[in-house]
Symmetry: C2
DNA sequence: GTGAAAGCGCTAACAT
DNA sequence: ATGTTAGCGCTTTCAC
């Protein structure tokens, strides 16, 4: 990289003290216009770049945020990251990537490495699970600025940005009810996820409002994958061949379920209506195109990052919970003709 | 975050000099066993964490890598990142995320911010385009360790890890030829991408070997999206209704093309065989399941990161180009029954 | 308006 | 085996 130009090199070349150069690059007022001009010129000529490291050492700010994520195949969180990144950049922050994809057990160690690197705050862009989360609670207690997306920690007051999944589940189910369906199956995500519980609650609420009795034999569990949706639908068809509608808690499972329906010759939407959740790009191109619940994922990342930076600038700021709204996207798996 | 415990606090509490503490945390040999034990104990008690910032300032190494990416919706690069992350962590490195998703024009500025932060090296996980890349060439000239994935810069010697797309295009096309198809259409990605040129070359090579004359009217261009595949297929069907096979240069376009085929009532694979490229998760669940070319994406990220770290440790190391092999995944869009 | 001195938390070099 | 001294490149006092 060649020998680095330092602030003293600039000072010497410009015939001022290094302190004056510091004033110039930090846009401090107390510098003569002429001096300022000359210093900038020398900076250009020498190609001087202030060392962010040295600055951090004295300022105690790294302008770096930790980004904890679990799974890059998950459309939701990938989109959250996109939104987060844009917002971070806007404020002069960078994200340090920290994916626990392979094993969640490493997370405490990664968090240690992150704080060792003095990140100014940490954004959790991964789902809450039922695993041990004491290390997160202890981060909170240490006062590390922390914001989560879709991660809920019972008993802790923390800032979390999420989507209103109860309402999303409600919208999805109501759409099926409006079509006149009563035997409405559901394929849920895995146990222990808050989003699963919430979407399920929305489903029940919709049934209740419509006066349709809850039939738990119409509920099957998947693990978000295409394959699990396929298998869950198979089970559902065995137990309840009369099912006329399905709400799958994500699009991948919905598409898997559609495969199972095709296999047994049930026509979509004529015989069975289907609703998914997420609005992944593939949803618009499934056969037939999938009706689904769109979540403002990028906005989740954006808002979360903004709140995180607010928290960094004001550690005493109130912890708040933000819920963003979902939107029903009507496509052919729910058309009524 | 409370007042930070420093190396001197530990030294005082343990009754040694701060230098001895430094020796202990760096596992240097010249420390008495007894002293070492005592120091570690104090470190535990005080919850001391060495400041990575201060270390970087003196060592000139941040153990941080820049990660340039363009598009988180692109399955290929997302998977590259997953592989890269795992490998980086293995060597004690973190990635600083730098997505140019919104506008590529900001890239030079981001690179500046990255070098200002003293990243030890930079990984480009984005495709090469025909846009101006002088800023990258100048990085190389400055001697910044740099590795790219699927990014080729004519005239520069740089380390690049990629997939053998000529062979991939060949495999895809040969699979269609084996089925006895001769009117083999192709939907390419956008102009200016090396992967597009290479896959196209593989397609032509396969036709040539089979003695099938090249018919350029069977080639249509897309932009990687489902929609563009759909539209390209529509055009293809108009110009050449006799098309009996299609090679789409990615799975999204392949699935879009299948939609177009369904619409005009052409059966897959009975009337038309289809091959995609990427093996995205949705490929196995398209209707019918899509034959495609699988690329070792995570391995690309892994190898690229390993080479980058090698380059950091030995800046004089030779720049090399690594090509990884693709694999044909046979599914129903190409079955011959 | 500008400079000199001190120090952020650590490691490297040279004592002892 | 351990301590002392001197920086790394910058910002923050506090003089002038």
């Amino acid at each position: 990289m060649g020998k680095k130009v330092t602030i003293r090199d600039v000072a010497a070349a410009a015939g001022v003290s290094h302190q004056t150069v510091s004033r110039v690059i930090n846009n401090r007022p107390d510098v003569a216009e002429e001096t300022r001009r000359r210093v900038w010129q020398v900076i250009e000529e020498l190609g001087y770049q202030p060392s962010a490291i040295a600055r951090s050492l004295v300022s105690k700010r790294t302008h770096t945020l930790g980004l904890i994520t679990a799974d890059f195949s998950d459309y939701f969180f990938t989109q959250v990251i996109v939104g987060a990144e844009v917002e971070a950049r806007k404020h002069g922050y960078f994200f340090m990537l920290c994916s626990t994809e392979r094993n969640l057990a490493d997370e405490p160690e990664y968090l240690r490495l992150l704080t060792e690197r003095q990140v100014d705050g940490i954004l959790f862009a991964r789902p809450s699970t039922e695993e041990d989360s004491r290390h997160i609670a202890s981060l909170i207690r240490e006062g590390v600025p922390l914001v989560t997306t879709a991660y809920w920690l019972p008993g802790e007051k923390l800032t979390v940005v999420d989507v209103d999944n109860v309402d999303g589940g409600l919208q999805a189910t109501e759409c099926l009810i409006e079509l006149g369906r009563c035997k409405i199956g559901m394929i849920t995500g895995p146990a222990g996820w808050k989003s699963v519980n919430d979407r399920t609650e929305g489903y029940k609420l919709a049934l209740e409002r419509a006066g349709i009795p809850l039939d738990v034999s119409l509920i099957e569990r998947g693990d978000w994958s295409y394959q699990s949706g396929y298998e869950a639908m198979k089970r559902l068809l065995e137990k309840a061949a009369h099912t006329t509608a399905v709400f799958a808690q994500n699009d991948q499972m919905a598409i898997g379920a559609m495969r199972a329906l095709h296999e047994v010759g049930r026509r979509i939407p004529d015989d069975v209506s289907v609703v998914g959740y997420d609005d992944i790009p593939a949803a618009a191109y499934s056969q037939p195109p999938l009706t689904t619940i769109r979540q403002p994922m990028q906005q989740v990342g954006e808002v979360a990052t903004r709140l995180l930076i607010e928290l960094i600038n004001d550690p005493a700021a109130e912890r708040k919970e933000v819920l963003l709204k979902t939107e029903l996207i009507r496509r052919e798996t729910c058309s009524s003709n």
